[in-house]
């Protein structure tokens, strides 16, 4: 799993690539939370077109970050979710809480 983080205040852009399992979860959580210490960040974009595998540990990471963003009345978006990740996100009804947007739509926003 590789993670790339870009701060574009008030947004944080996180690009995940590879396999999002329990093994990868801890370093991703740490890397994002370190950036989220900056309370000026009110929008978290997690880009997932290159996530090739995801299990429920990945769900835990996303819902945990969603909780942090909610607490500061911020927003969180999953961008360009890969089919591999989409399946388990649906299974766990994650979209009921976290909005997902296609990759192109997010580009237009910038």
């Amino acid at each position: 799993m590789t993670i790339e983080i870009k701060k574009e205040l008030p947004a944080l852009q996180v690009h995940l690539a590879g396999e999002l399992d329990h093994h990868a979860a801890e370093s991703i959580r740490e890397a994002i939370d370190k950036q989220l210490m900056d309370k000026r960040i009110t929008a978290l974009y997690v880009h997932m077109p290159e996530v090739s595998f995801m299990d429920s540990a990945g769900i835990g990471v996303l819902l945990g970050r969603y909780k942090i963003m909610s607490q500061r009345h911020g927003d969180m978006y999953l961008v360009g979710v890969s089919p591999a990740a989409d399946r388990i996100l649906r299974m766990a009804a994650v979209y009921d809480r976290i909005a997902s947007i296609p990759a192109e739509q997010e580009k237009r926003r910038k």
């Binding site: 396999e19 399992d21 329990h22 093994h23 801890e26 959580r29 595998f53 995801m54 299990d55 429920s56 540990a57 769900i59 835990g60 990471v61 819902l63 945990g64 591999a84 399946r87 388990i88 299974m91 766990a92």
Partner: protein, 149 residues
């Protein structure tokens, strides 16, 4: 029909072995000609079971995990076995969103995912003896491939 086959993988309870376990079982199941989606289902279910063994069976301490898989006809059986603390209340552990470790930011979806992706999930567990999660899945060929076999 091909002869029955089986495999056994014994690995220490390190999180980096989660990928090894799921990839190995995925490769083992390849002889059944599963679709990409079926392979993904099997790998995800194995990943959930192995992660549970590491986090809950051994609570992060070291121990061995046995991953056993067998193919008979079109049926794949996978067992993920740990020799750790066991599950006190199996019915409770199977509840969606239940987690014994909310401190670890677990989603509580592990068994639900396994049950959704596999045909049958059986949990055998005894306190301080360990846990065996047995998962079974019939790998049926996609309807369009019916003429070829």
């Amino acid at each position: 029909m091909e002869a029955a086959n089986q495999m056994r993988l014994i690995i220490p309870s390190l999180s980096e072995n989660e990928a090894l376990a799921r990839v190995t079982v995925g490769a083992f199941a390849a002889r059944l000609n599963p679709t990409l989606e079926q392979v993904s289902d099997i790998k995800t279910a194995v990943s959930e079971a192995v992660t549970n063994a590491i986090i809950h069976g051994y609570e992060g301490s070291e121990g061995n995990i046995t991953v056993y898989a067998a193919v008979e006809g079109r049926r794949l059986t996978v067992e993920v076995i740990d020799y750790g603390k066991g599950i006190a209340d199996i019915a409770e552990a199977r509840q969606p969103f239940y987690t014994s470790r909310p401190d670890l930011e677990r989603s509580g979806m592990g068994f639900t995912v396994m049950e959704t992706l596999m045909d049958k999930v059986t949990i055998l567990s005894q306190k301080d003896q360990g846990t065996c999660v047995r998962m079974e899945k019939e790998i049926l060929p996609p309807p369009s491939a019916g003429q070829e076999g």
